[in-house]
Amino acid sequence: MRHVALTVNGERHELDLEPRALLVYVLRERLGLVGTTVGCDTSACGACTVLVNGEAVKSCTMLGVQADEMEITTIEGLASNGDLHPVQQAFHDHHALQCGFCTPGMVLASVSLIESGEATSENAIRIGLEGNLCRCTGYHNIVKAVQAVAGVS
């Protein structure tokens, strides 16, 4: 067991973790933050994407102990004071989700893409979201939602 301190959605948690525990399972099973989902076991699908120190990270590619002293944002922490984050709102407005299983990762990857200034065109958005798979939407409305928030046509 290793003792770590994670700040998740602004709240500090001190935990003793098994070294092999992946961050995604720490979030889901130790902290009960089940909004983050697991869609594969090869870091291909991106469903488990969270923000670590502001950057999109597939939380199945990182051990919980590696996140010691880091700040993590999960889908549960994105809205503030009951107001959806603009990306969440745009996903709703543009029908950018159907079953919703990939949505938490897709939303957080989109937030990171927009905040990093890389969402400069439809094509840049499509390439920027390459690490996140969706099987329902064909990405059409996801891309439209991100374009709307990023202000690119």
């Binding site: 092999r20 089940v34 909004g35 697991v38 299983f101 099987r135 329902c136 939407t137 064909g138 990405y139």
Partner: protein, 788 residues
């Protein structure tokens, strides 16, 4: 989240793109996926799976696993043999002499595909269960295996089930008219062979189950399933608990595409072991496991023949198909080809018709329903052969299609069914307006002229399909074991809110929103007054679930009929209390008013309160305002449309890029155009993916080679363009909503449009066919072949 509704008036919501009520929870992580749950005392199940495609199980040593940390129990297939009252069910014995080998949740003597379960470990956590599973020692004697369905039919092929003495599962035929006569009399006969690869559905949520036994033999199963009702009765057959003691809950379910329309070994195992152990048992599939343990789709080889006159009138279609079953028959495995059996003529008037399917066992994961189920297979071979015939005749492929369109509706087909409605020219006209074909052809001519490395092509697919599964009598006639109806219950609460209980089970299709639109309109209440309940057999007792683009055309129509019953009873109450004849009342904007004196009125919500207080009801009337309707459709519904793909092919590398995809669909009336369009986008994408990227590949020994999402190419946003979509509307006369179904149309239409485009791009170089998926290697090889 802001409410989107306006004042509640009848006809306010249906036909509008109301935003989804499902989104609020899904966008903020307040979800109920099965894997999110673990009642107190839950233990975790891991399955030990055969690494061999075919092997005799000579012994299973469980001692080391049983001694491992955190292990609660370990069982082999033999240990649990007595737990099963029956085999995992196959509900579709398509012929009288079909071979239906038993299929138990764990293999006992032989493993017949890579991934077949041979033992199960129960431990305190996911990690400990996996650790212990690695300690199970199975003594396998590898046997010869076969994965290729044509090789499986050879005389010397390894037998998947040696006691059957053949790998042929069944032969099913449908003949109408005189196909041979038409071929003999034809000016032109075109025959083409098509291989349609095996596909992996890839719902992003893997399967998951959680079973909890209660104190009096009842059991609750949470499952990531499309079919909680079907699962409930199937579990009785496998585990032996009466259905009345089984509760199946499908909470948030993360996509299905047919892959969760099944009764799986893990569902039966979790129930049986929760009862044995007296603790909740949970299993969550990993993706690598999903690729072998959850059904696959397609895997067929067709030979399609057209007979035609020299001016392009098709006089006969004949299809011979071999269809892989995999190692066992899952819930509807043998019936999947039959779902396409009546659309080998598609939207075309073809008087002579013959379809034959041969089901074939192979040492592979069982196949079953994958989006479109039988209809993409039929449409692919039909629409590819339309292009082949056009080339043969020197005709424009669009003109050939127009020349053969059915134009009179309802249309009685040679094969026996009747198409409800349609206007195939209208969809094609609209498609051509959006496409600007002249511009594409001129660009194509210019690139050909200058021998550009990058050539472009355009491909068409004018399709129809039959969905809205299904009239129960027809299902019975084609030997499907259960009915095709669905149910709706509408219940006014005393203070006027409305509960809708549906027998459909959404997993991304937005029923909560669309069903509320339908009911709010019919009852004249606000959408926010309507709560839609589903996916729990304790709440929704009657249902046939969600698959085959059936939910709106069957379950949605049931809502309409239940609404009519509610209005009838409310009208009787109002008529009694206002002391007027029922016929003197008119219903609008949620209230009954007396014709001629509109100030005398009572809202439906007030009538609901009166129904519950029961102080002043007509003699003999039962209190409460609730109604159930069970609707059995009189016919399938028949969506149709016209799609076109434009591709650019690099003739040096074989790389194909989809530049445009234009789709005009006719799905009947639309309840929510935004949701319809979303379904079209997703459906198209799966069809495009089959055409260009996706293929489950087995090696000679029947080992699956595409075992991850990095080797099986599920498309990302980067490979796809934005789509151009529009719709025409031929309302279905079969139901009062005029609806047809949209879940599968895109997948049915898209693959042939894309491959037709690839072939069109290269046709001037001599390429006449590319098998799916048109990978760079396949395209490059096709080009090398025509060069040499």
């Amino acid at each position: 989240m802001t409410a989107t509704e306006t004042a509640p008036t009848t006809g306010t919501f249906v036909g509008t793109s109301a935003k989804r009520r499902e989104d609020a929870a899904l966008l903020t992580g307040r979800t109920t996926w099965v894997d999110n749950m673990a009642p107190f005392g839950t233990v975790v199940m891991a399955i030990v799976r055969s690494p061999y495609a075919h092997a005799r199980i000579k012994g299973v040593n469980l001692e080391a696993a049983r001694a491992a940390e955190g292990v609660v129990a370990v069982f082999s297939g033999a240990d649990l043999a007595e737990d099963w009252k029956g085999s995992l069910p196959c509900a579709w014995a398509v012929t009288e002499d079909i071979k239906m080998p038993p299929h138990f949740p764990l293999a006992i003597e032989e493993a017949r595909y890579q991934g077949d379960g041979v033992a199960v470990v129960i431990a305190d956590s996911r990690a400990l269960a996996k650790d212990a599973a690695e300690l199970v020692e199975v003594d396998y004697e590898p046997l010869a295996a076969v994965a290729d369905l044509e090789k499986a039919l050879a005389d010397d092929a390894p037998l998947v089930h040696s006691d059957l003495e053949t790998n042929e599962c069944y032969v099913w035929k449908l003949d109408a008219g005189d196909v041979q006569g038409a071929i003999d009399a034809a000016d032109v006969v075109v025959t083409r062979r098509y291989v349609q690869p095996r596909l992996i559905p890839n719902a992003i949520e893997p399967r998951a189950v959680l079973a909890q036994a209660g104190p009096t033999d009842e059991v609750t199963l949470w499952s990531a399933t499309q079919v909680p009702h079907i699962l409930r009765f199937a579990l009785q057959l496998v585990v032996g608990i009466p259905e009345s003691k089984i509760r199946v809950i499908a909470p948030h379910v993360g996509g299905g595409f047919g892959s969760k329309l099944d009764v799986y070994a893990e569902e039966a195992l979790a129930v049986a072991l929760a009862r044995r152990l007296g603790r909740p048992v949970k299993w969550t599939e990993e993706r690598a496991e999903n690729y072998v343990a959850t059904i696959h789709g397609r895997d067929t080889v067709h030979e399609l023949t057209f007979a035609a006159t020299k001016d392009g009138k098709i006089t006969a279609v004949s299809s011979e198909a071999k269809c892989a079953m995999g190692a066992y028959l899952q819930l509807v495995t043998p019936g999947i080809p039959l779902l396409g059996a009546w659309i080998y003529n598609g939207p075309y008037d073809i008087p002579n018709y013959s379809v034959t399917f041969t089901g074939v066992f192979t040492n592979t994961t069982p196949t079953d329903a994958y989006r479109g189920a039988g209809r993409p297979e039929a449409t692919y071979v039909l629409e590819r052969t339309m292009d082949a015939l056009a080339t043969e005749l020197g005709m424009d492929p669009v003109e050939l299609r127009r020349k053969n369109f059915i134009t009179e509706f309802p249309a009685q087909l040679a094969s026996g069914l009747t198409i409800d409605s349609g206007d195939y020219h209208a969809s094609l006209d609209k498609l051509l307006e959006l496409l600007d074909l002249d511009e594409i052809r001129s660009e194509q001519a210019a690139r050909r002229e200058r021998e550009d490395v990058k050539q472009i092509g355009v491909g068409f697919s004018t399709y129809n399909e039959m969905c809205g599964l299904a009239p129960s009598r027809i299902l019975g006639a084609i030997r499907y074991a259960v009915g095709g109806w669905d149910s709706a219950t509408i219940r006014f609460q005393p203070l006027g809110s409305v509960q809708v209980v549906t027998g459909t089970s959404p997993h991304g299709q937005s029923h909560e929103t669309s069903w509320a639109q339908i009911v709010a309109d019919r009852l004249g209440v606000g959408m926010d007054d309507v709560e839609v309940l589903h996916g729990d057999t304790a709440v929704s007792q009657l249902g046939m679930d969600t698959y085959g683009s059936r939910s709106l055309a069957v379950g949605g129509v049931a809502l309409w009929h239940a609404s009519e019953k509610i209005l009838d009873k409310a009208r009787t109450i109002v008529s009694h209390q206002l002391e007027v004849a029922p016929d003197d009342l008119e219903f609008a904007d949620g209230a009954f008013s007396v014709k001629g004196s509109p100030e005398k009125q009572m809202s439906i919500q007030a009538a609901a309160f009166q129904a519950h207080s029961a102080h002043n009801l007509p003699d003999g009337m039962e209190p409460g305002l609730e109604a159930t309707a069970v609707y059995d459709p009189p016919n399938f519904s028949w969506p149709a449309g016209a799609h076109a793909a434009v591709v650019e092919v690099d003739t040096e590398t074989g790389d194909t890029r989809l530049i445009r995809y234009v789709a005009v669909d006719d799905v009947g009336s639309q309840v929510n155009p935004m949701i319809v369009e979303g379904q079209v986008h997703g459906g198209i994408t799966q069809g495009i993916a089959a055409a260009l990227w996706e293929e489950a590949v087995y090696d000679e020994d029947a080992n699956l080679l595409t075992t991850t999402m990095t080797t099986y190419l599920v498309p990302t946003a980067a490979e796809l363009p934005s789509f151009e979509t529009d719709r025409t509307e031929s309302s279905s006369p079969m139901n009062p909503l005029g609806v047809k179904g949209v879940g599968e149309t895109g997948t049915i239409a898209a693959a042939p449009a894309v491959i037709n485009a690839v072939v069109d791009a290269l046709s001037h170089l001599g390429v006449s066919d590319i098998q799916m998926p048109a990978t760079p290697e396949r395209v490059w090889r096709a080009l090398q072949e025509v060069k040499s």
